[in-house]
Symmetry: C2
Subunit: 632 residues, 2 copies
């Protein structure tokens, strides 16, 4: 019943544009085929035979025609009309070159739920379809009137027992209703006519509204699509996996971006599913990021010197100079910052586009070759200056905002630093600041790319998504998604907003594509660190007195501690188990990027979300409009 090779497909409704634009984007992204969504065809000026010719030219198969609604269980004359409609669509499919059609469970108020009648309807239409060489796929809509569960759809398909009638499984319709994935084991693989996949954020709302507006790609939401696909593969199904995504933002996003991410998400989910059931997979396993080894800033001339001074006031010591390049290394505990002032190369190009900025991060992994191979399999581009990636000391992948992610094997780290840099006996930074390692990196991206970068980190490195947060900037809502390695040793947050006046939006406007705005450092004694920074005159963010007055009312902290936190500008949060989290922010360098010191106690796992609004309000007081000459 299904084609012979696992293939990636996408429903045209998932992409922006005219039908022609959708098909081209799907072909360019590497899909093997498409589902033709009826409304896209109806609105198109291309006749079905012209669509077929275009599909042939593009090398795309027409894998499904969809949807056909309100077919089964109709009484009287409505039944005749349903069959007439179906025959008209079979004619159309013949022109189009489509051999299977999605029949979704009826929502019609007149539809009857009697099982026998529905079975008869499918058997009769199956005979007609067989004569036309067409396969019917029956899908249980989550909001179907009588059939809204794939177990019921399967019972019907099994009873119909017709060679041209199968079931279509759609992850959203099943997972949105919490139907257990293992119920798929009852289904015979060769009776699965097609598989549609969509993920979605976990929201508690009307199923139809959720489905029509919030679906996203596998690896972008909170549904167990991997487990769903694993059970399907276990049945022996080896046909296409196809994306059917209704998402307000995807409708206006560049089709190229969504199509590329779509292919990536299917490759990712197929690989993840195979691992769950120990099936062989071509792709190397995801390599967790062990830690962030360094953050690279691009800056030249006076800016590079100012940036170095800024690092020094924050407790960093100049510990190395590159042997051949205008690159310096600054260190505090296990945290390395690099300033790249080279007039050529990637950092220079990035600087030309974004100004002084974080242009790269370096991450420790166990096996960088495996990461590169997995990236290649996922279509994530390696950075290749002048086509000679081999010359690089460290291979790199493209990352947020056009920055790079350098890959370093854990066992080569010390050797690399020693080989590339000679040690300096530069002045030590502030004594007493004791950042130990990088806690997390915070990136700001265009809202159109918010989901895209989540997929990147999850698919490539197996990072896990935490609960999404809405952060209240005084000028609007910012969406924030934290991702982290299983052990929490590497964490990144992705932030995006539609509100044009927020700090995030202003950061985006500054450059061309966002990037990292904020580096959080772990300290084991935030009070000592804060005092040391204060003593050396570091420019830290003032936190208003009202905040600490409220803190005293909210938490059982002793007055002396609160007074000290107020004095030093330290923020505090506590989870429901009483685990504490302290935060201290630097003022932003040229209003661009800033540092945070954090201290985590007793396994506090969050990011101080309740304090984000206070931090943003404080930063907002240094808006360019308000104080054009001040340094934030």
């Amino acid at each position: 019943m299904s084609p012979t090779l696992p293939q990636n497909a996408i429903a045209t409704v998932s992409l922006r544009g005219t039908l022609e634009e959708k098909l081209k984007a799907a072909a360019v992204a590497g899909f093997a085929g498409v589902e033709i969504f009826e409304n896209d065809l109806i609105g198109s000026a291309l006749a079905p035979y012209e669509v077929r010719a275009m599909l042939d030219d593009l090398g795309l198969a027409c894998m499904l025609y969809q949807p056909f609604r309100d077919f089964e269980g109709m009484p009287g004359d409505l039944r005749r009309r349903a069959f007439d409609r179906a025959k008209a669509k079979f004619d159309l499919m013949d022109e189009l070159g489509a051999d299977r059609i999605l029949i979704c469970s009826s929502c019609h108020p007149a539809a009857l739920g009697e099982r026998e009648r529905i079975v008869d309807d499918f058997r009769e239409l199956g005979d007609i379809a067989q004569q036309r060489g067409i396969i019917l796929g029956y899908e249980a809509l989550a909001w179907g009137r009588h059939v809204n569960d794939h177990r019921d759809a399967w019972a019907i398909v099994e009873a119909v027992d017709h060679p041209h009638v199968g079931i279509i499984l759609d992850s959203f319709h099943s997972l949105s209703r919490n139907i257990p994935n293992d119920s798929i084991r009852a289904i015979t693989g060769d009776k699965i006519a097609f598989v549609q996949l969509a993920d979605a954020p976990l929201l508690d709302m009307d199923l139809l509204y959720w489905s029509r507006h919030f679906r996203n790609l596998p690896g972008q939401g909170g549904l167990d699509v991997e487990g769903f696909v694993a059970e399907i593969l276990r049945t022996g199904y080896d046909g296409p996996l196809s994306l059917e995504i209704f998402n307000d933002r995807f409708r206006s996003n560049a089709a190229r971006l969504v199509a590329e991410d779509g292919c990536r998400s299917l490759d990712y989910v197929r690989d993840a599913a195979k691992r769950l059931i120990d099936q062989p997979t071509d792709m190397p396993a995801p390599q967790p990021v062990l830690s962030a080894e360094f953050v690279e800033f691009t800056a030249d001339g006076r800016d590079a010197a100012r940036l170095g001074s800024n690092f020094a006031t924050l407790g960093f010591t100049l510990v190395g100079e590159h042997r051949h390049k205008k690159v310096t290394r600054w260190r505090q505990g296990g945290v390395n910052l690099v300033i790249n002032a080279e007039p050529k190369g990637f950092a220079s190009a990035y600087r030309a586009a974004q100004g002084t900025a974080i242009c790269a991060i370096g991450v420790r992994v166990k096996d960088k070759a495996a990461v590169l191979a997995r990236a290649a399999a996922l279509g994530i581009k390696a950075y290749s200056p002048e086509g000679r990636p081999g010359r690089l000391a460290m291979p790199a992948l493209r990352g947020v905002g056009g920055s790079l992610v350098y890959l370093i094997d854990a066992d080569e780290v010390e050797g690399l630093w020693a080989r590339e840099f000679h040690a300096t006996d530069g002045d030590a930074g502030v004594v007493g600041a004791d950042a130990r390692s990088i806690d997390h990196l915070a990136a700001v991206v265009h809202n159109d790319e918010f989901l895209s970068w989540q997929l990147y980190w999850r698919a490539l490195f197996g990072l896990e998504a935490r609960a999404a947060q809405d952060v209240i900037d005084p000028s609007g809502l910012v969406h924030s998604q934290a991702l982290q390695s299983a052990d929490g040793a590497f964490r990144v947050t992705i932030n995006a907003t539609d509100a044009r006046e927020t700090l995030s939006a202003r950061f985006l406007d500054h450059g061309i594509g966002g990037g990292y705005q904020h580096v959080a450092l772990i300290t084991d004694d935030i009070f000592a660190t804060a005092q040391a920074l204060r003593d050396e005159g570091a420019a830290m963010l003032d936190i208003p007195v009202n905040y600490h007055a409220d803190l005293a009312a909210r938490f059982d902290l002793d007055d002396a501690m609160i007074a000290r936190m107020a004095d030093l500008g330290i923020l505090y949060d506590e989870d429901s188990d009483g685990a504490g989290f302290w935060q201290l922010y630097s003022r932003a360098f040229d209003k661009l990027f800033f540092f945070e010191f954090v201290q985590r106690a007793n396994g506090y796992a969050g990011y101080g979300a309740p304090n984000a609004g206070v931090r943003l309000a404080a930063q907002n007081r240094f808006r360019p409009e308000a104080t054009p000459t001040a340094t934030l």
Copy 2:
């Protein structure tokens, strides 16, 4: 328990910006007072006494401090801490000059639901509050753990029976849970400590998510806020009505816009509520729009001539020339189009900003003086060129996109045309086109103003909102809201989108603030009209053949009719009762605005929403990028 005068208030959370910006916006818009939302104070650099001074300077009362969470029913040490927290907030309120506090029903997992314990808690805190001159207001959150219904909150307040403990009613919390408004009759007016109002679109989703993201102003959603307020007024409550709106868009919208609309919405809802219970109200009753009398286009030179030719091909006849101005009148049945080519005055100024465009509409009303008085009461500006509105033949109000709405008394219409225009014996337009009257006008506005213009039409003219529609443009989702007079004789749709490449967005980009894009005309014989237009070579929008093939499958229409519809480019829709609707579109004039002919049968009440995507796809084929020299 309540202040002596009905007053408008707003919670600071409803507005964008820093606390200072929020307070200023509230004062400028005319609010009498504010609720201080705790997070806004906590994030502010102003100490409470400074906020108090600022409120005094601005003439704003601090009417409520909110919210105080998780107070009642706490066991053991948590109870002690809840009381300590409350006392700390009383100190703060003293500094701030706030005499009442909102205590929302507890969501704390440890909170106990025993009624007696809760009553004791309030009685004990009430005693403390009384000593401090503070009133406690208890509000049932819709998602409260034990108390989530104002009837339960009232039972507790009644049992507490303390002079400093009252109830706070919030329309969202009650109406979102379908609690009957008449249950408010059980409440004693002098025990109502405060009233918060919010409307919301009717969506079926988790109450907390709905509340935090989708609330809007009374008159912008689908809740019966008028009925809610009516029952509150009936109790004798004469205190403030206050807005507490959590809305993603309001967080980034200009505070000035939201604050002005907020005052307007409170004035509107108070007036509507008083009418429901036959209480006297200062505001004149809303005057329904009887019909759209004319649409005025601004164009000069060659454009004015081209536009006239365009009108002629669409069946309009030049029937009049203004006696003193370069203004012509075109007519078809009861539809009047006016071309204003004056080099001075409003049309000229509009043209300078927006180019050739619809700059005004004229509407028939029974009593224009009453409309003007109501508009003034609602803060809707009258158009007053050079401060001399008295000189105008027709008074006008500001409308969408900076256009005008001229007001004409029904009994003066014919006299006005005769007085201002002399008849011409210009060439007749296409014979056979037979538009009878204007069916509806479609406006495109910035998404930030989408709700604002709904409030305008509802509050000023009493238009009723129909179900909102999502329209699928190939480049993204467009939100569309239809509003109409009770008898359907005047209809307008408001359209907005965030998708930058949609036809709506491109229309917005052309000018400075949107406006009317599309005029739909009623005909009683759309086939004859279409044929006549065809015969005269009118530029009509081609509808793809696929559309009509699908129509044949969907509806029981005879083949000859479908063939004729396909030939003439006529679209069709049918409601569930079988009532039909036919549509025919002109190509847009310079890709800017276009006409539609519609025929309604058997009381079809919609706007052909299922066809909007097809129309947009067809118009999309004439995108400027695709065919830079073609006329849409």
